[in-house]
Subunit: 163 residues, 2 copies
């Protein structure tokens, strides 16, 4: 065990948000797709913490900001766009969305989800990718979208629980 990830330690989270938004701008303009105001706002809301956020939570916060509430499709369309661009992930085990911390990698990644503090950390652990590839190959299965979501306790919450 080396070091707990940034997400699990106190840190200046504004840096995370700023970096994510800037990176998203760049990425979208490079691809010729439009990071509209709504999409940017949704991305910012998803990034407001390292805890996955439900679509209806996003909806709620949007409606509080604006005074009126858009329909669910408005939020889901923005999320679909962000998913397509690889800027957020959807965690199937939580029905919730999380800002992507590894937009440079194409693959699925692995997610470690703390049942206590709800923080989710994204990894790009190639040995896991390879192990899954090997397992699939052993039965002739062609992998398209691997999904790894691990529920457990983050480093921080382990020490708290021990106390």
């Amino acid at each position: 065990m080396s070091q707990a990830p940034l997400a699990c330690r106190p840190h200046n989270h504004d840096h995370c948000v700023d970096h994510a938004l800037q990176d998203a701008e760049q990425r979208c303009s490079a691809r010729g797709v439009r990071l509209t105001e709504l999409r940017k706002r949704v991305l910012e809301l998803v990034w407001q913490s390292h805890q996955p956020l439900g679509a209806y939570d996003i909806l709620e916060q949007l409606s509080q900001q604006d005074g009126r509430r858009p329909g669910p499709p408005t939020v889901y369309r923005a999320l679909d766009f962000l998913l397509e661009q690889g800027l957020v992930h959807r965690l199937a085990s939580l029905n919730a969305f999380l800002g992507c911390t590894h937009p440079e990698h194409g693959g699925g990644g692995q997610f470690l989800i703390c049942r206590q503090c709800r923080v989710a950390v994204e990894l790009e652990h190639s040995a896991t990718d390879q192990a899954i590839a090997q397992a699939a190959a052993s039965v002739g299965f062609a992998v398209e979208q691997p999904m790894v979501e691990v529920l457990g306790l983050c480093a921080r919450c382990q020490t708290r629980e021990g106390a």
Copy 2:
């Protein structure tokens, strides 16, 4: 690549069902829990194929068998029992349930889900378990419930698609 799993090949599926039901009887009586008629019926419905089945599909089939339809809680309670006993799995990426083919192992297992024929195969690939354990350990995360669901094409459907 050695051999495609039974689930992906033509086989006498009655054997699968019989074995699963008998094994479930044994397991439950050994633990002093009751595999009631309803629970057995739900288990049998889940085992009717190697394709994960939604709770509302089970509900539908129950209602067709009986002429009247119970409420969703009836089905979900039976499924909860079967999940607790490790007799079925829930696939979060599909919101669907699948008979367990490895009741002897406690762990989560890995699931290979064919997007074409919808068959899902459960593996117990220790190298994958270990890789995940190692990835988690590297950031001080304590694994409790690893979840691996891989979408792709099974061996059978690859040859079909190539044709």
